[in-house]
C-alpha cells in the first residue's frame, strides 16, 4: 500500500528526456520505451527532486486545477503503475532531509 508521506524516486537505471512537455523514458531492464501524457510527464519531471506523494499531489492539484481528491487518486494510480513497471521506488525521507 502506498502512503502519502513516502518518497518517490526514479529507478536510477532509467534514462529519460522531456521534450515539449512530454516525457520519454527508456527502461533498459526490459528494453522498453515509455511515453506519458501531460500529467504523467509533469509527475515524472517532479520525481527528479524525490518528492513525497503528498507533494506530488499538491503540485498536480494546483497546476492542473483538479480537486485534491482527484489529484490524489490520479497520482496514486500513476505511481502504482510506475512501481509495477520497476520505473520508480518508494522510500522514506531521512530525518536529515
Amino acid at each position: 500500500m502506498i502512503l502519502l508521506d513516502q518518497v518517490v524516486s526514479r529507478n536510477e537505471k532509467t534514462a529519460s528526456r522531456i521534450l515539449a512537455g512530454e516525457a520519454v523514458v527508456l527502461t533498459p531492464m526490459d528494453s522498453k520505451i515509455h511515453g506519458f501524457n501531460e500529467t504523467g510527464s509533469r509527475i515524472w519531471e517532479l520525481l527528479a527532486d524525490r518528492p513525497t506523494l503528498s507533494e506530488i499531489v499538491a503540485h498536480i492539484h494546483r497546476e492542473f486545477e483538479v480537486s485534491q481528491e482527484q489529484a490524489q487518486s490520479d497520482v496514486i494510480a500513476f505511481i502504482e503503475e510506475l512501481v509495477a513497471r520497476g520505473m520508480v521506488t518508494l522510500g522514506q525521507r531521512s530525518r536529515e532531509g
Binding site: E12, K13, A15, S16, R17, I18, L19, A20, E22, A23, V24, L26, P28, M29, S31, I33, G35
Partner: protein, 320 residues
Amino acid sequence: MDIGDMCVLIASPHPQVIAHIQDRYHDFLSEEAPDFEIEMAFAEDADPAEYLDVPHEMLSDFIERSRAVEKRLEEPGAPSSSAVYWWGRQPSPFGESEADALAGSKPKVAHLGHKILFQRSDFAGCMDIQAGQGRNIFGKNMLPFAVESFLRICYSFLAVEHGGLLLHSAGVLRGDNGYIFPGQSGTGKSTIASLVTKHERVLSDEMVVVRIRDGQQLVYSTPFYGTNESAEQNIRADLKAAFLPIKDDEVYLKETRPAQALSKLLASVLFFGQEVALNQHLMDISAGVVAQVPFYEIHFRRDDSFWACIAERERMEVVK
C-alpha cells in the same frame, strides 16, 4: 572495415574467416587506422571462457545452446545451419519457434566493469570499449551468422561510443539529400527501399548509421541489409529528414511531436547496453538527432507516389 566512419581491424588465425569478411563486406573494407580491434576464433581453438577472459559460469547460455544447435544440426534430415541463423530474411524450415529457441533472436548481455559480454547460441563475444579491443568465438559451422551478429552488436556499441546510432532503418539518397525511414520489422523499410525511382539510391533496406559530427547530421550506408543487397557502396550523406513509415491508403506527410519522434527513434535503435551511463548517452544522442533533424510520419501506399510528398517538401525547403 569502415562503417559510419568507424574503422575496425579484424584478425583471425583462420583464412576462411578473413576470406569471408573480404568477400561479404567487400565494399566496406578500409585501410584507415582502426578505432577498434577484433579477434575472431573458432570454439575448437580455445576454451571460450579463457579466450574471452570471463568466468566460465557466465558463458552457460552460449555453451548450452550451441551444443543444442550442433546436436540438432547433426540429426538425419536436419537443415543446414543457414536455416537456424537467419536475420528475418526467410522463414526457417525448423519453424520459427524452434529456430528462435535454438538461435535466439536477442543476445544475452552482461557488463563486467568496462567489458561487455554478449552471447547467443551461435557466438560469444566480448568488447572492452576503453581498451579498444574485442574478441568473438563461435562454432565454425556458424561462420557467416556469428560474424554478422557480432559485427552488428559491435557497431551498435561503437556507434553510441562515437556519438551515433546504428538504426533499424531504410536509408535513401535523393540527389545530395539523405533520408532515413526508421522502424521495426514489418513497418515497411524494405518496401520503401524497393520503391525507389531513377531519382533515388538505396543506402540500406535494413540498417543505417546516423551521426552528428561538428554540428552536421550524417547518414551512412551499412553492409547490414535485409531482403536486398542494394547498398553496395560505403556512402555518407547529409541527413535531411526522417520519415516514420506508416502503410495507409492515403499518401501524405505529417509532422511528429518531438517526444513521438524520440520514442520511435529509440525503438529503432539496435542497442543492448544495460549500463546506466551508456543508456543516458544513447538518450542524449537520440534527443540530439530529434532536435536537429525534422521528423515526419510518411503515410504511403505500395507504389512510388510518396516520393512526390518528399519532393514537395524539398521544394518548400528551398523556398525557405
